[in-house]
Amino acid sequence: MPRQHTTNKTLIRLKDGSLRVLKESEHAVERQFQEVRLFGSVAVALLLVGFLLVAQWRGNAVASSVLEGRSDADLAQVVQELALGNEDLRSEALELQTRIARSQQDVESQRVLVQKARSALSGMRLTAGLEPAQGTGVRIEIKDPQHVLLAQDIVSLMQELRSAGAEAISISGVRVGALTGFTDGVLGVRTAGTVLGHTLVVYAIGDPDQLEQALALLGGIHSTLTAYPGVTMDTVRQDKIQVPAIDE
């Protein structure tokens, strides 16, 4: 029913078109009814707003956790952050690779050092005569029928062979080490309790070319020794020479 509000009374239009003033009781009911409608509609609207607010809140929280719901600026930032993180990781990987390479190098160089030390040790043991040796070299036969050779001649021969790169030397079956000495005796030169006699056979392990060259050098040991009366010296290359260790 259409109503008209005036200052204190409410007019009501009846079905036949005439107007009449509402009675006081009717007025009160009417006002109460209107208040209920007022609060009812606003309350329903607020109910809806509250519900939508929560739904929106939750949707936003979900959306910001996935990339789909983010704005372009956010995405650009995400991409930038990822690129930065990527760069960091890449440089870290590079650093680690460098460290791996360096430690591998260290291991390698240590291995090389150990190998060098080991070969140096075995070379020293060879030179010292602590181990039997075998390899290519030369066989030198010196004949001294008149016993003219002295210990120092033999020492010179040994030195000549060593400086020519001989790794192991034996003389008449006796290994010549770093401490082997030669002495002159009545029956000839002696070494390590052995008299060398008229015929000396020297085996020297080393590069045969170098050894031969060193011995045959003009004014070298060969010419020096063969200058003595009756002394002959024959040098023969041999592929396989065996030299014993020093008798302890």
Partner: protein
């Protein structure tokens, strides 16, 4: 007035209980629509306090405001002016604060008028 506050709280509770979440594509529409709805509600309260409230106008205003707000965002997105939603946000924001101010004035000017 308490009834209105209770209604809002009830709506929030229903939302919390129902575990409904808005899909990402609809978020921008609904955000502006909520703003419009809130503005309409405040407008309704203001009208009630000014004794010019009409439920028909309120319901109609509520629906058209929310739908129009969402529609403006949609149009903005379709025609490549995404910032158009700002127009709706600003318009409804200003109205919201206007209404809020009016409601506050009405309540303070006439204490116990509720």
């Amino acid at each position: 007035m308490f009834v209105l506050l209770l209604a809002l709280i009830a709506g929030v509770l229903i939302g919390l209980v129902s575990q409904i979440s808005i899909p990402a594509v609809l978020l921008s529409y609904l955000g502006v629509a909520i703003l419009a709805a809130l503005d309409s509600c405040l407008g309704g309260v203001r009208a009630a306090l000014e004794r010019t409230f009409s439920d028909r106008i309120f319901v109609f205003g509520f629906l058209t405001n929310t739908l129009m707000a969402a529609f403006i965002v949609y149009i903005g997105e379709r025609i490549g002016v995404r910032e158009l939603y700002l127009a709706a946000v600003v318009a409804f924001g200003v109205r919201l604060f206007n209404n809020l101010g009016a409601v506050r004035r009405l309540l303070i000017d006439r204490p116990g008028a509720e």
